[in-house]
């Protein structure tokens, strides 16, 4: 005769199934928030990439503001998240941002300061010192009119992307971790600790510096009296330079090759060093890398 089932025989399978269901839920949740993702930093804007705050546990709010006035200078600082600045044919500045915080309450407290001061428009998030860092990333998408003559962007973790600008706009772009991309600039100063730099410049001075990341640029023009200084520790430097440029050139790579498409009056040439003049040699032109090749092409 078979004995009746005990409570252990009934509850055991129930507990087992419950645990399996909880484990599956935990797995799905933890994979969804991408805890091991180590790709490009914060590129969530307009679905352009992935953001570790994209999963559950983050509230977000999108705000668009309009600023009238003939601004000449744009200063934008961010801690985490992309900075995208684009020129447009309207005569006002439009600032669109998406801010993220742990809860709706923290989202309300998370302030983005946009301050017009004379001809300068200054934008930056305010991260107040609070326990457990409830504030997340901010994605900035700023549209600027042609009156803007100078852009200064500073980011800690996130890309800087400047596009659709007229020639002659002075740019100072700095990020700790993230790519810098500028389609067209006047005088340019760009610095990245960890991230590649892509640029096109036609100004007088060019100062590009990266610790770990490739530098790729187009030099479309170089005024006499200017200077070019490009350096990276780990990464190649690839430059496309306009025909007919004059340079007092010094290219040096510790452990990489050097190639140059221009006729150089050589002063010193070694496997990893090339010093000489191109054309009249009026503009100091220095490129240095520790680990990576240097190439100059037309």
């Amino acid at each position: 005769m078979r004995s009746r089932k005990t409570w252990v025989d009934i509850l055991g399978p129930v507990f087992g199934i419950l645990t399996a269901a909880l484990s599956v839920y935990a797995l799905v949740y933890l994979l969804w928030i991408e805890p091991f993702y180590r790709g490009d930093s914060y590129r969530s804007f307009e679905g352009a990439g992935r953001d570790f705050t994209a999963g559950p546990g983050w509230e977000s709010q999108e705000v668009t503001e309009r600023f009238e006035g003939s601004f000449r200078e744009l200063e934008i600082r961010n801690v985490a998240g992309p900075i995208v600045v684009e020129g447009w044919n309207q005569d006002y500045v439009q600032v669109r941002y998406v801010k993220k915080a742990r809860t709706a309450r923290y989202l309300e407290e998370f302030e983005i300061e946009i301050e017009p001061r004379g001809s300068r428009l200054s934008i930056h998030p305010i991260y107040r010192n609070m326990p457990r860092s409830p504030f997340g990333s901010v994605s900035f998408d700023v549209k600027v009119p042609s009156s803007i003559k100078e852009i200064r962007a500073n980011n800690i973790s996130g890309i800087i992307n400047i596009g659709n600008m007229g020639a002659g706009i002075e740019q100072t772009l700095e990020t700790v971790s993230g790519r810098i991309d500028t389609e067209r600039s006047g005088n340019l100063k760009a610095k990245s600790i960890s991230g590649s730099i892509h640029f096109a410049s036609s100004g007088k001075t060019l100062d590009i510096n990266s610790t770990s990341g490739r530098i790729h640029g187009e030099i479309l023009g170089l005024d006499p009296g200017g200077s070019v200084e490009i350096g990276t520790i780990s990464g190649a430097v690839e430059l496309e330079v306009f025909s007919g440029f004059d340079a007092d050139m010094r290219l040096q790579s510790v452990s990489g090759s050097i190639s140059c498409d221009f006729p150089v009056q050589i002063i010193e040439q070694k496997r990893n060093k090339l010093e000489g003049t191109v054309g009249d040699g009026t503009v100091p032109f220095e490129v240095k890398t520790v680990s990576g090749r240097i190439s100059l092409s037309r």
């Binding site: 055991g12 507990f15 087992g16 645990t19 399996a20 935990a26 742990r102 809860t103």
Partner: protein, 91 residues
């Protein structure tokens, strides 16, 4: 053919395994509830308590399988028989 004593011993082991599983599950449930409460009272966003829930949960499911689904089959018996025969040969 198993003797009555062997059957009783085997039944005792299975019953013990089932009771162990119930105890194991109850400890797991209590700890997870406490962690979930701590998580959600101090921080309502990221559910970090799911990490231990997942890791320990896999162990609980394995325990459930061994207690209720796979309780040792003929291979185990044959291995035991072989070991006994070896011991007898050595004597």
């Amino acid at each position: 053919m198993a003797t009555q004593e062997e059957k009783i011993e085997r039944a005792r082991k299975i019953a013990m395994k089932k009771m162990d599983f119930i105890r194991h599950f109850l400890i797991y449930a209590v700890v997870m509830v406490v962690l979930a409460i701590i998580n959600n009272t101090t921080w309502s966003g990221y559910q970090w308590w799911l990490w231990p829930a997942l890791g320990w949960g896999i162990g609980i499911v394995a325990h459930f399988v061994s207690a209720f689904i796979y309780q040792g089959g003929s291979l185990e018996k044959r291995l035991m028989q072989r070991e006994l025969e070896k011991m007898e040969d050595e004597e």
